[in-house]
Symmetry: C2
Subunit: 244 residues, 2 copies
């Protein structure tokens, strides 16, 4: 049998893919973190919903696998793309213990891509994502990656820039970056992409350091060529005549 | 007026978002690189199509802007996501010279995300994209980014790994990576994602070095924790109990 791991895109609205909609409209059971399930509950009323809180990842995946093996058609939903800080990896790792179940990963528009589109085109050249959550990664590793990315000229997309328990992490990350990047480096900050309360702001790295952020935010740090064009954040790709 | 820059997702098929479909079904004119236009020509027969070849990026964007300013409703289409090595940046940079035209970037599932979903879950931890095309970026910059990404433990997604004029670039990139990474590092190679002739292969870094690749391929290089689970490429996120 097949268990689906489905990306909702940013917000679960019009940036949902057609494949994701077809899968979610066909399953008996939709499993996910409470906030993400609430984004699609009304749209797929044929399904039963099972929600679990933050940090319930392993239980959530185990429950979905048990139900799939028992013969139900099941989808695990994630915001954005399920393969970017989502549930696809954990499901694939746990699946072999549950017997003959195939995992189909249904990709979605990730938070980075959704946020970038709002801001303009910050990710037009080589870029990386770094999660600032140190629940699963030591801060020293995060810090080293920030330094490496800045020195090598990657545009950086920061996931999980802050939370209630990590209020100052965006400031700490910006302090690391400010050792290597100009404080006027063009940056972007988005919140609630594709959801109620969507916001989008272009600012400098110095301003980003002290900007309010939370788990529903994504921050973007440009490279040396990134600039503001008509209020949008744009990293040139380098086409002849571009920026002329 | 609004000019749309629309991502088709990998292949322009079922991974198209609903917003992208709505936009493409509503416009008079769809502009794009010949190969991408051919992916959607039959689906949006109401529109006129304007195709340009490779390296015609500036002309393509200028034509779309001229037509939008003249009052037509226009979409520029890109494979994958328009903000990742696509046309969003160039359109935003050129637009101010054309007067009062707004650019709406409609994000799509990028080649990296589409390819990752096929392979399994390679991008579950911090990752970066690096294009191996040196048409617009000096090889030395590409090489330095490869080294920085490998040393900092990023999973790496290689765009444009080879072309007719750059047959050995994937091998050259792998040689750079092999100086820092174990030759048995788990890698992935996808081709024609979402299109006819789709292929997907999990292999080692040593094998990737000599694997056939072209402009329709994407290569993935794991980090030290990336492993093969039931034939799929999986990078653990690090959840407690994961991989147990």
């Amino acid at each position: 049998m097949t268990l689906y791991c489905v990306g909702l895109g940013p917000g679960g609205g019009r940036d949902l893919t057609e494949r994701a909609r077809d899968v979610l409209a066909s399953v008996d059971l939709i499993v996910g973190y409470t906030t993400y399930v609430s984004l699609v509950r009304d749209q797929f009323a044929q399904a039963e919903f099972a929600c679990t809180g933050m940090r319930g990842e392993r239980e959530r995946c185990a429950y979905a696998l048990e139900q799939a093996v028992a013969g139900r058609s099941v989808a695990v939903v994630c915001s954005g793309d399920p393969g970017v800080y989502g549930m696809a990896g954990l499901l694939l790792e746990l699946a072999p213990a549950y017997g003959d179940v195939q995992i189909e990963v249904v990709p979605g528009v990730s938070a980075a891509l959704g946020g970038a589109a709002l801001l303009g085109a910050p990710l037009m050249h080589d870029w990386c994502t770094i999660s600032l959550s140190d629940l699963l990664t030591p801060w020293e590793t995060i810090r080293d990656r920030l330094e490496a990315a800045a020195l090598a000229g990657f545009v950086i997309c920061l996931y999980n820039p802050a939370s209630r328990g990590r209020k100052d992490y965006l400031a700490r990350a910006c302090d690391v970056l400010l050792r290597h990047l100009n404080p006027n480096t063009v940056c972007g900050l988005v919140r609630n992409v594709g959801r109620e309360g969507e916001t989008c702001r272009v600012l400098t790295l110095r301003e980003l350091r002290d900007a309010p952020a939370d788990m529903r935010s994504c921050a973007f740090v440009g490279n040396v060529t990134t600039r503001v064009v008509d209020g949008r954040m744009v990293t040139p790709r380098g086409y002849p005549g571009e920026g002329a």
